[in-house]
Structure formats: C-alpha cells, structure tokens
C-alpha cells in the first residue's frame, strides 16, 4: 500500500515536471523543471533498489549536466520567445501521435518479450550494489569501460576545439 502511494505520487510529480519542462516558453524555467525531473528520477531509482545509480544520477545529471545547461542558457540573451512551438496544428498533432505511438509500441514490444525473463524478486544479492557493479565493470565490461574513457577524452578535446576563440581568450580583436 505504501509502496503504491509512494510510486503514484512520484509518478504524478515526474509527469507534471516533465510536462512543464516541455511546455513553458522560458528556457530557463524549462531547465529548472528538468532539474526537478531528474531529482525525481533519482528517487525512482532509489525505489528500484539501484542506489548507486541514484547517486550517480544526482551527481552527474542534476549536478553537472543541468548546471552546464543553465550556464549556456545564461550566455544567450533570451527572453521568452515568440513562437516557441513550431507552427501548425496538424503537424503538431501528428508529432504527438508519433511520439505516443512510438512509446506505446515499445511497451507493447516489451510486453511480448519480457515473459521469458525469469523473475528473481526474492534473491537479493548478498553484496552491495556498488561493489558488484565495480566488479562487473572491471572484469566483464572492461573494454567498454576503457572505450568510454577514451570517448570522454575525445569529447573534452572536441568541445574545447569547437568553442575556442582564435588566438585564445586574451587575444585582441
């Protein structure tokens, strides 16, 4: 019972915040609502027993990524835009329909395939999750892990390259 109440209230919050994210005209408000959505998602992860993931979500997403978003937004001189949504009722309806269909189909697909999964809701792992994750990462998924490291390096260099000013930040123009 408590579980249900907890889940449903979390769900309502998430849906409300996500809806607000995509509909408010002001992008800064949008960013704020997204932060709230992510925090809510962190709570959901925690509910699902993924503590490590919940923590990482808070730190990386809500803490780093969204801060980055807000910083960039503040670089722009934005007021609430006119015409923040794309035009056309028909195309708008079409887009909503497409999104809904896609999501629905995905869940329907899951419906037909999940039945073969065996459920082990009783067997709790003896060790804590972090440790288990660590062991998995460094043994079974080591290659992907290292590749990820390289990806991050490349991204860091690339971002600096894309946004540099010719001659450095102290150059005279």
């Amino acid at each position: 019972m408590m579980e249900a109440i907890g889940f449903y209230s979390l769900a309502i919050f998430l849906i409300y915040f996500a809806f607000k994210t995509i509909t408010v005209p002001n992008p800064i408000h949008s960013a704020l609502y997204l932060v709230l959505t992510m925090i809510g998602l962190g709570a959901a992860f925690f509910n699902l027993g993924a503590q490590f993931i919940a923590g990482v979500q808070m730190i990386v997403y809500a803490g780093a990524v969204m801060v980055l978003f807000v910083m960039v937004l503040m670089l722009f001189d934005l007021k609430a835009e006119l015409r923040s949504f794309s035009r056309g009722l028909f195309s708008g309806g079409l887009k909503v329909m497409a999104a809904a269909l896609l999501a629905g189909l995905a869940i329907g697909a899951a419906n037909s395939s999940v039945a073969i999964l065996e459920t082990q809701d009783q067997a709790k792992p003896p060790m804590d999750i972090t440790r288990q994750l660590g062991i998995l990462l460094y043994t079974k998924y080591l290659y992907a892990f290292e590749a990820l490291g390289i990806l991050l390096l490349v991204v860091a260099v690339g971002v600096v390259a894309v946004s540099r000013i010719k001659g450095g930040t102290h150059a005279q123009h």
Binding site: L34, V65, S84, V155, V162
Partner: protein
C-alpha cells in the same frame, strides 16, 4: 489487466508505463520546440526515461546488466550534452539566434 489488484501492486509495468510517458514527452519536446537548448533538454529527458526502464528491467531480472547499461548511457549522455551545448554556443556566436526556424539552409 486494469484491476485494482494490478494497479496497487507495483510491478515492472508501472515503471515501464512511466518511462514510456516520459519518453514521449521528451520526443514531443524535440519535435515541437524551436529553441535548440530546449530540444537538447528533450533529448536528455528521453535518455533519462530509457535509464528508468533499464533499471526497472534490471530489478525484474535480478542481475546487474541493466545497471551497467545505465552507467554507460549516463556517461555518453553527459558527453553528448557537452558537445551539443558547445555547438549551440558556436551557433549563437555566429548567428545570434538559437531558434531553429532560422536554420533552414539545407532546403532543397
């Protein structure tokens, strides 16, 4: 399927439904909002929804593969957000606009 019993007992399907709704919200943001940054935010929302479903499946099947997947998705999403924002900054510096209705150069 929609009996009180099913509704009250929180199972995989509830989380999947929630994930689906969040995903479609994110997709609508990408398709319908004109600000580049808001579109990027929609992408982040989509990725988060997918993360939720991964973790739900992971709980359902009992192993940690879903967690690993979430780990990777998060990392890559963060990297991608960084690059996307850098590009948005570059676009703004050049055009002083981040509304995509001004960027129809590939028309043809």
């Amino acid at each position: 399927m929609l009996s009180t019993e099913a509704l009250l007992h929180i199972s995989l399907w509830h989380y999947l439904a929630l994930s689906g709704i969040l995903f479609s919200f994110g997709m609508i943001a990408v398709l319908m909002r004109r600000n580049v940054i808001v579109m990027l935010m929609g992408i982040e929302l989509m990725l988060n929804a997918v993360n939720l479903s991964f973790v739900a499946f992971s709980k359902e099947s009992g192993n940690l593969n879903g967690h690993i997947m979430v780990f990777f998705v998060m990392t890559i999403a963060a990297a991608e957000a960084g690059v996307g924002l850098a590009l948005a900054v570059a676009i703004y510096k050049k055009f002083h606009e981040v509304n995509i209705r001004f960027f129809e150069h590939l028309r043809g």
